[in-house]
Symmetry: C2
Subunit: 261 residues, 2 copies
């Protein structure tokens, strides 16, 4: 990524990209090394970023992402804006289940978590706001993959399907069948694919044009899982968010939810 041909803009963005969940606070030397920049250049860029508020310096002299960058980023329509519309419905879903509630979107071949509501008693999960996971192993990822079109599915199945537990589906043929079932049933169940004690039930969120723009899920301990009881709640929340985004359900047989892709 870095190299002599990098523009000033690219160097500045490489400084921001040096931060990650595993190292959210960095010294100037660490920043220069991670961004592959000479120390004086790093110093100059960090000074500009700090003055603007994109970085903040703590008492120990380490830098971290600043509040102003967070404020600007809060304008991302696929981040905070979608989350704002979804939040009341996620709240209701949380109250109905008292389990982990997730909202996620797809970015390339990964799922990105926009929101996680979890009570202190909910099952421990690996999700985290801003975190990325592969599509095939999570409930939200299965929904987003199933509705992402055949080209995406072929590309995804051609790559390696990472395994997290003995239950993770790593066989492309089996994954394709699961995706067809997700489209048919209108929801996805990921059973112990990420951790061997949790299960997630997910449903698609549609935008005004009917395309799937996000997914909602509930993650529950597998021991206490009442999957059939969770499905209607998750689908209801997803449809509520879809309606708020301008989606209108296609007329279907009375009493039967439509199962269109």
């Amino acid at each position: 990524m870095p190299g002599p041909a990098r523009s000033a803009a690219d160097r500045l963005l490489d400084v921001l990209a040096a931060f990650a969940h595993e190292h959210p606070a960095l010294t100037l030397t660490q920043l220069a090394r991670r961004a592959d920049l000479p120390l004086p250049t790093a110093h100059r860029l960090v000074a500009a970023l700090t003055e603007w508020g994109a970085l903040e310096r703590d008492d120990s002299g380490r830098y971290h992402i600043g509040l102003r960058l967070w404020e600007v980023a809060a304008l991302a329509p696929r981040g905070v804006a979608l989350r704002e519309i979804a939040l009341p419905f996620l709240e209701d879903l949380y109250e109905a289940t008292h389990e982990n509630v997730h909202l996620a979107v797809r970015d390339g071949l990964q799922v990105v978590y926009l929101e996680r509501l979890s009570g202190r008693s909910a099952v421990g999960v690996h999700s985290r706001v801003g975190a990325r996971w592969p599509l095939h192993a999570t409930g939200v990822g299965l929904v987003l993959l199933a509705h992402g079109g055949s080209e995406l599915q072929e590309r995804y199945c051609a790559g390696e399907l990472a395994s997290f537990t003995p239950y993770t589906v790593t066989d492309p043929a089996r994954l394709r069948r699961m995706l067809a079932e997700v489209r048919r049933s209108g929801c996805a169940v990921s059973d112990r694919q990420i951790t061997d004690d949790a299960l997630s039930v997910a449903a698609p969120v549609r935008g005004a044009r009917g395309d799937v723009v996000a997914a909602v899920s509930v993650v529950v301990p597998v021991a206490a899982a009442r999957t059939p009881a969770l499905v209607p709640a998750v689908r209801l929340a997803a449809r509520g968010i879809s309606r708020s985004l301008g989606w209108q359900p296609a007329p279907g047989p009375a009493g039967r939810p439509e199962a269109s892709a």
Copy 2:
């Protein structure tokens, strides 16, 4: 702010700063004008930002803040990290009250909202994640101003105190008395200071060193306000978050909460 002496880094940051809640999507021409840049320069910077993922281009050709910037910004300790720790307590507070629940920090002379939980039936409020408000008119702002030190208070009271309703406190002497009462009682009540139908009850969140790092509030319709009943719930949530941040309460008389500043 802009000028011929701007560095490449400053120009790039000016492009990001062109976005605001009132105009979250901008054409290249609008971006160039708002960032005070020649069109070719704006084009080059926008291309670099888009390739990195800091901006995304929609079907109509307009640019908005991208998911990758949102992901990086999610590492801001005063943004998402604090929010992650606070969320279970905010959830509990929401469930106990079913009203708007807020988490906010101070940045300069303003309060910045990090989180807002609100059911669909809660009173309409002007707060928004990432939004800024003056300190004297909101419950969270009163808490953060009261615990921000005398220098901040003098500076704040020397400026103009903006009025939003006939109930907004704009008299510096009265504001100082309110701040002393906030420190004494351990909570703040902002009564119809932002809108004439809502009231907020706020309490301080302390960090490991005992300093006030954030504030929690509940906003309720003034008609149905049961302020005395809300105070313990808000204080409990704020203390729960403080404990999770490493704060330990000073030993006080048994059964009486300490009211130290």
